[in-house]
């Protein structure tokens, strides 16, 4: 089967734009989507109509009613997925949840057909939203430290808090999260999910103050990825109140990682000492056997 995707020039999405106008009129509250511009509300008493225009955005507007009110397909998909998250605890990460989300936006349930039927896009969307929330949180904390309003945390505490904050975002969806994890492991999704995971780990280390440029960079990320993944799995089958078992597990793993780095440098210096000792012994033996003599 040959699939053909189209990336058309950005045209105004007539139907969804009209829907948003209608819902704006009725709710009279500003939209929260940042990359959209608000239009001047039409004079009171006018019901917005569905204009059957051609598919070109009208910047000069009909009678001054429309301004640059348009969104791209990606933005609309983003909105649908965000609305769909609310239905995940009930329906799981499925096309049904997406259909319900589309319904709340006033769109037909058939709009869920824009996405894959296994819910991959919904899960990836959720993960990337969580990652941005984490970044914002870490940035805010960093600003507080820079302004002197808070203490700089020691590394292990910082890592612990960051991973805990990120994992807490899963709590509302924890029942269906194992399903999401298995979907993220599908070969089709592995590039994107791996990408999201590594950029999140990168972020955490960045805000932890890691500026290494040597092999340490890789080891640090590998270690933190291991900690995050194992803690996530523990959280899946943790039934203790407030997930205290999970946080204790996290604390232990981070502590392990800290001692491991100390141990590693100890091992290295011990190893060097041992090697030097062996070399010395070998030279001594050669001397004793008379092999070092020059004839």
């Amino acid at each position: 089967m040959v699939r053909c995707q189209q990336y058309p020039p950005l045209r105004a999405l007539q139907a969804s734009a009209a829907l948003r106008r209608a819902s704006d009129e009725h709710r009279k509250e500003p939209l929260t989507s940042s990359s959209q511009q608000h239009f001047d509300s039409p004079p009171a008493g006018h019901q917005p109509e569905q204009e059957p225009q051609g598919p070109h955005p009208s910047y000069t507007g009909l009678g001054g009613q429309e301004s640059e009110d348009y969104e791209s397909e990606e933005q609309l998909q983003h909105r649908i997925l965000t609305a769909a998250l609310e239905f995940v605890p009930e329906h799981g990460w499925t096309a049904e949840a997406i259909a319900e989300g589309a319904k709340t936006l006033g769109l037909s349930v058939a709009a869920a057909g824009m996405f894959h039927s296994d819910g991959s896009e919904l899960i990836l969307h959720f993960v990337s939203e969580c990652n941005s929330k984490l970044s914002k949180l870490l940035e805010k904390e960093q600003k507080l430290v820079q302004l002197g309003k808070a203490e700089k945390k020691p590394i292990d505490e910082f890592l612990r808090d960051a991973v805990e904050a990120r994992l807490r975002m899963l709590i509302p969806y924890i029942e269906k999260w194992p399903q999401a994890l298995s979907v993220l492991l599908l070969p089709r999704n592995i590039p994107s999910s791996l990408n999201l995971l590594t950029s999140m780990i990168d972020d955490i280390w960045h805000y932890a103050g890691d500026q290494s440029t040597d092999f340490n960079w890789y080891t640090r990320r590998a270690v933190l990825t291991g900690i995050y993944n194992t803690t996530e799995l523990v959280m899946m089958q943790d039934s203790s109140p407030g997930f205290e078992d999970t946080w204790r597990f996290l604390e232990n793993r981070v502590a392990d990682a800290m001692t491991m780095s100390n141990t590693a440098s100890q091992v290295q210096s011990t190893g060097e000492a041992v090697v030097q000792g062996l070399m010395g012994a070998a030279v001594t033996i050669k001397n004793l056997a008379g092999l070092n003599q020059r004839r």
């Binding site: 995707q5 037909s108 058939a110």
Partner: protein
């Protein structure tokens, strides 16, 4: 019956074609495509993946193939939904379980509905008989109508399908505009149609089969050589995948793409009214 075989046939000739083939339509489909048309229609249904509560308009759907598949699909999805709900209701009292059964017993389709619209009375008649014979009663309606001028209001339907019908419409752009009109915002347009094979070897075999075998089958089974000659020629004259995609976009649909089935013998085009 038909005088202009090799020229684009006007409206009445198309009408007569389907009037004469209506009774043998399904049999001819099976023999021409060696039964593969059933798989194509199943794939269309899977692509649509409708959830209960969907309102489908099947245009040029005369004998009801798509409509019946839709009802089956939605029914099984609904069954799974109800089973899941019951599993969650483990701790309810018998009274509550009984009540939930009552509520859902009369809702085996979950409010889904399909409207079959065809321009040809004969095809609709055959469809209605089939429905009765196979036991489909709820969620179905049969409407006589022209794809270029649908007798429905704006923003009514969730999904619009046209399977092997858009080829016979004289003004395809009008049909696409009507499809856009009757769909709800967020609604989906799906078109299953014969298309162009790009692979040269396959294309030659396909041409051979089309021009040598199909009209003969038409004569033997339906007693109508000319209709099937017309069919094969109309397939060749139909716009190829990319061109149809451009036409669908011109009508205002977004996220238009197509899937080739069997190397381009058949293609499913999909677009959304956004």
């Amino acid at each position: 019956l038909i005088n202009c075989i090799s020229f684009p046939c006007p409206f009445f000739a198309v009408y007569q074609v389907f009037e004469s083939v209506a009774k043998k339509y399904d049999v001819m489909n099976d023999s021409m495509t060696l039964g593969i048309h059933r798989v194509w229609k199943d794939i269309l249904m899977h692509k649509m993946n409708p959830c209960p509560g969907t309102l489908l308009l099947d245009v040029a759907g005369g004998t009801g193939d798509i409509a019946f598949r839709f009802i089956n699909y939605v029914r099984s999805v609904r069954q799974r939904q109800l089973q899941r709900k019951l599993k969650q209701h483990q701790n309810l009292s018998w009274q509550e379980i009984f009540e939930s059964y009552q509520k859902d017993k009369f809702n085996s389709l979950g409010d889904s509905q399909v409207v079959v619209c065809d321009i040809n009375r004969e095809m609709l008649k055959v469809g209605k008989q089939k429905a009765q014979h196979l036991g489909y009663s709820e969620g179905l309606s049969w409407v006589l109508g022209n794809a270029e001028e649908l007798p429905f209001d704006d923003d009514k339907f969730d999904v619009y399908t046209i399977a092997f019908g858009i080829r016979n419409v004289t003004r395809i752009d009008l049909a696409l505009q009507e499809a856009y009109r009757v769909l709800k915002p967020g609604g989906r347009f799906l078109c299953l149609e014969f298309s162009h094979v790009s692979n040269p070897l396959l294309s030659r075999l396909y041409d051979l089969y089309s021009f040598q075998v199909i009209p003969v089958l038409g004569e033997v089974i339906a007693g109508d050589w000319r209709s099937y000659q017309y069919l094969v020629e109309s397939i060749r004259q139909f716009p190829p995948q990319e061109e149809l995609k451009a036409m669908i976009e011109d009508a205002g649909f977004f996220k238009v793409n197509y899937d080739n089935l069997n190397f381009g013998i058949v293609a499913i085009h999909s677009g959304f009214k956004l």
